[in-house]
């Protein structure tokens, strides 16, 4: 599970059966300083989230388990909205919050 920032949406009308109605979001993983860590990726949204939100996501096979149908080709899913992440007493990842 990783901390990430939602940086955009992805719209795909034609998709694998079982993924209907599942929102797809661009997420940028963050490190403990709140900085970008590695490449951005597309994740299914198992909880409501939108661009700018701080979230945590799960990767691998478990990503699919967070979706409404669990036997689907998914390897990353947003499983929580983060209101506060603290590293050694300092809040991180707040920079882009309104």
């Amino acid at each position: 599970m990783y901390l990430a920032r939602v940086i955009g949406r992805v719209v795909a009308t034609e998709r694998y059966p079982g993924l209907d109605g599942v929102a797809l979001q661009w997420v940028q993983p963050l490190d403990e300083d709140g900085r970008a860590m590695g490449d951005a990726l597309v994740a299914c949204a198992a909880v409501n989230s939108g661009p700018g939100d701080l979230v945590h996501f799960i990767d691998g096979r478990e990503g699919a388990l967070a979706c409404p149908q669990t036997f689907v080709p998914v390897d990353a899913a947003i499983i929580g909205f983060v209101s506060q992440a603290v590293r050694l007493g300092e809040r991180i990842g707040d920079a882009e919050e309104g």
Partner: protein, 108 residues
């Protein structure tokens, strides 16, 4: 399993039902000698670990589901032990009783 320092906490008011009431910890994965190694992760705490503890973590779905008792749960990273000491090639690489608090990372 990997070794990590607990460097922070994550508060998530909206999340999948599996995680309700669970504590999420911000983890800094470490090499055996204590140097940071790998990507920052979030782990589910099941043992009462806190910031400053050096811990062992699982990063595998089946084990996580077994620990949480959720056969279909979307969980992967779980904090499963607090480290007392680490011995590396015959020398004490880490001792919880003499630990220093985790330092801010120096590398960019």
């Amino acid at each position: 399993m990997f070794l990590a320092d607990v460097v922070g906490t994550v508060v998530s008011p909206v999340q999948i039902p599996l995680l309700a009431g669970k504590t999420l910890l911000l983890l800094r994965p470490l090499a055996p000698d204590g140097r940071p190694a790998g990507k920052t992760r979030i782990g589910i705490d099941v043992i009462g670990a806190g910031v400053g503890d050096r811990v062992i973590c699982i990063d595998e779905g089946n084990s996580a589901r077994q620990i949480l008792g959720e056969p279909k749960g979307a969980a992967k990273t779980v904090v499963v032990g607090v480290v007392d000491y680490v011995e590396l090639e015959g020398e004490l690489a880490y001792d919880a009783e003499r630990r220093a608090p985790p330092a801010p990372r120096s590398s960019p």
